[in-house]
Symmetry: C4
Subunit: 229 residues, 4 copies
C-alpha cells in the first residue's frame, strides 16, 4: 500500500464529506436521500457516503472506502469505521467507475424538478443558453432499473454514451451526474436541477422557443474550452 | 411512579422539542401549525407540543405530558408547566396511540404540497422509486373530519389499516404520519412532502409513467429490510 | 404628554422593528416592499416602518411615529430621526386605524402567491380547515386603488366589513392584514400566504373539494374562542 | 493616474464584491452563473466579477478592473490579481457602458422565473402596481444573441431604448439590468424576479386583469419622483 493512495483517501474523505453540504445548500436532497463519491487516483478504490447517515452528521472519517465492485475495504489502511455500510447506491457508482475511466466523481440525487421530468420519462429539451454551455443538448432519460444489481449502473453508462450531457435522469428515480472529479459532478447536479426547474416553468405557460443545434454546438464548444480561470 | 418512566419523559421532552426544528428546517410548518408527539414507553402517557407556542420558543420543559385520553397529567412527576395546554390535536394523537400499539411517535403538519393533494381528496400515486421504498404504494386520503372528538383519530387509524403507507392525507386538512418513534414519523413527514411536490410537478406537464406493483413491492420490501446501518 | 404614551412608543418601536424580521423569515417581502404598523394605545398615534429602508437596517429608533392622518409627529417626545419619512403606505394604515377602532396592528405585503390571486382579482376559496380556523371563509378581494389618497384605506375597510377575514387582497396590488396588535396581523399575513399557496397548488391539478359553510362556521368559532394558551 | 480613480476602484471592489451576496440571498444565482459590474466614475473603466469564481470566495481584491472595451487593465494601479480573467459576460457590460452614459452599474443573472419567460421570448405584462412603480410597463424581451462579440450588448441597449424598464429578458438566456449604480441594478434584478414569479403564478390559473396605461404612468411617475428617503 503506497503512501500516495493513503493520502488521496485522506483528502477525498474530507472533500466528499464537505461537498455533501452543497447538496443541502442547493436543496437537492432531503433527509439522507442523495450521495457523492470520488474515485481514488492510482487505485481501484472509491470513497462514498455511508448509508442512512444524515448530512448534518457527515464527517470525513465516516466516509466509506470500497473497491470498484462496491465491496467494503476491510484493511486497516482504509480506516473504515467498523460496521458502517456504504451508500445503497454503491453498486451503481462502482459500475460507472469500472466502465468510464475518465470519471473521477459522481453524484446521485432525487432533486425535485429533475425527478419530476424523470417520472414522466421525458428528457429536458435544450432551450436555454446555459443548457447549451453545460450540457451541449438535452438531458437524456435512462431506463427504469431496480436497485440490487448492475442495471442502474449499466443504464447510466449506456445513456451517457449517446449524449454530451454529464447528467442522466433515471426513469421514475432521480438524477445521476458524472465529472472529472467530485466537485465537477456536484456542479453538474446543481445546474441540472436549475435548468430542470427553469424549463419546467417555461413549459407551464406555453412552448419555449428551441435553440438551433448549430448554436448549441457553438455554446458547448466555447464553454468547455474557454470559460473559467 | 417508577424512575424509568420519569427518565423516559425527560428524554422524550428533549427529543420531541428538538425534532420540531426539523419541521421548520424542511419548511413543513408555518407559525405554530404543526406538532409532534411521542409515546412514553412502559406507561399510558405521551409527550406533545403545547398549543399555540412558536417553534423558536419550544424548550423541553414546555412539552406537555398527557395520558392516552389526551388529558393533562397534573401529578408533580409529570413536571408540566402550570397552565400550559397540550396541542389542539392531542385527541387525534391519543386515539392513534390507543389503537395502534406499535406506534411510538406521530407528526401532524399542513405541509403545502401534501395539503394541496388533500384539498382535492386525491391520493398521491406511487410513480417514484423513493415512494416505493418509503410508502410501498400510494399515500392514501382519509375522511373529512372536524376537530373536537375522536373522528380525526378514527379516520387516521382506519385509513392506515388498509395501506403500507405510514402517512395519511386527511381531507381538506393536512398530513398525519406515524412511526416506531418520533424521529421516524418526522422522516415520513419529510418524505411525504417531498414526494407530494415531485409528483405534483410531474403531473403539471403530463402523466407520470406508473411503476408496476411487483416492482413497488420489491422496492418496499428491500428498503424496509435492508437499507440503512 | 403622559409618560405612558412615551413608554408605549418605546415598546412599539422595538416590537414593530423586530416583527419585520418575521416578514423576511417567511419570505413575504423582498427588498423594502412591505411594512408593519402598530397603533399607540391611549393616543391618536401610530408607529410604522420608514420608507425605502432595507429590513436588515431596521432598528427601533428608525421606526416613525405619525398621527392618525399619517402626518409625521415633529415633537421631541416622538424621537423621530430627523428627515426620515414614514412608509409610502402610511395613509392606508392611518385610514384603517381611524375607521376600525379594534385594530391595533397592520401589515402590508406583496407576498407572492396571495398577490397572484390579487392580480386575477379572485378571492381565495375556503377549502382548507386551517382557512376555516383562521379566516372563517374566503379571503376577499378589494378594489383597484391608486396610492396617493384615501382610496386604498377605504377599500380595505369596506371589504373587511363584509367578511370574517382579517386579510384582504387589494386588486393588482397585494395583501393588507389587520389584528388586535401587530403580531396578530403578522400571523394573519403569514397564514394568508400559506393558504394562498396551498389552494393555488390544489387548483393547478383539479378542483379542491369545498367545505360546507356550517363546518367552516364551526371551525372558525372554535379556533377564535378555544385555541391557544 | 489620479488618486481619485484609485480610491473609486478601491470602493467599488468592495461594493461589487458585497453586492454579489444579495444575488445568493435572493436566490437569483446558482454556482457562478451571474455577475455584477460598476463603472468607475471619471475614468473609462469598470469593476466586474472574475470568471468562474464561486460567490462564497469573492473578495474585493479578486474583482477585476477592465477598460470599456472589456480588456484587462494590466497597469499596477489597477491591482488586478495576476492571471484572473474577468467574467465571460464582460463584453456585454462594456458595450452597455460605452453606449449608455447614465448607467453606473449592471447585473446579469439567470434567475429562474424571469429566465422561464425569456425561454418563451415573452415579455412580462404589467399587471401589478409594483411593476408600474418599478418598471413603468412590461419587461421587454431582447434578441437571441450568442456570446463572443457585441451582439448581446447591442441587444440590451436597443431593447432598453424603447422601454421604461431597466431590466431586459434576453431570449433563451437570462436577465440583464442597469442602474445609476450597482446597488440600484441589483434592486431591479431582485424586483424583476419577484414580478416574473408573481405574474407567472397569476397566469397559471387564469388571466390577470390588466392595469390601464394611464394608471401605470401615474404609478411610475410617483415612484420615480416621490418614493424613498
Amino acid at each position: 500500500m503506497s503512501e500516495n493512495v493513503a493520502e488521496a483517501i485522506q483528502r477525498l474523505r474530507k472533500e466528499v464529506a464537505e461537498l455533501h453540504q452543497e447538496l443541502t445548500r442547493y436543496g437537492l436532497v432531503v433527509w439522507t436521500a442523495g450521495n457523492i463519491s470520488a474515485r481514488v487516483p492510482g487505485a481501484d478504490l472509491m470513497v462514498i457516503k455511508p448509508s442512512g447517515v444524515s448530512y448534518a452528521e457527515l464527517a470525513p472519517e465516516l466516509m466509506v472506502v470500497t473497491d470498484l465492485e462496491g465491496r467494503l475495504v476491510t484493511d486497516d489502511w482504509a480506516e473504515n469505521v467498523a460496521g458502517l455500510k456504504p451508500s445503497s447506491d454503491t453498486a451503481a457508482h462502482a459500475y460507472v467507475y469500472r466502465h468510464l475511466s475518465a470519471v473521477g466523481g459522481q453524484v446521485h440525487t432525487h432533486s425535485t424538478y429533475a425527478t419530476a421530468w424523470a417520472a414522466r420519462r421525458e428528457p429536458i429539451p435544450c432551450v436555454l443558453t446555459m443548457m447549451g454551455d453545460e450540457f451541449g443538448g438535452e438531458i437524456p432519460v435512462g431506463p427504469f432499473a431496480l436497485i440490487g444489481d448492475d442495471s442502474i449502473g449499466r443504464g447510466i453508462v449506456e445513456t451517457l454514451a449517446q449524449s454530451h450531457s454529464r447528467a442522466v435522469l433515471m426513469a421514475n428515480h432521480g438524477v445521476f451526474t458524472i465529472g472529472a472529479d467530485a466537485e465537477s459532478a456536484v456542479k453538474t447536479a446543481v445546474m441540472c436541477e436549475e435548468v430542470a426547474k427553469t424549463v419546467h416553468l417555461a413549459r407551464q405557460l406555453g412552448e419555449p422557443v428551441p435553440i438551433a443545434q448549430a448554436d448549441i454546438d457553438r455554446l458547448f464548444d466555447r464553454y468547455q474550452n474557454v470559460y473559467g480561470q
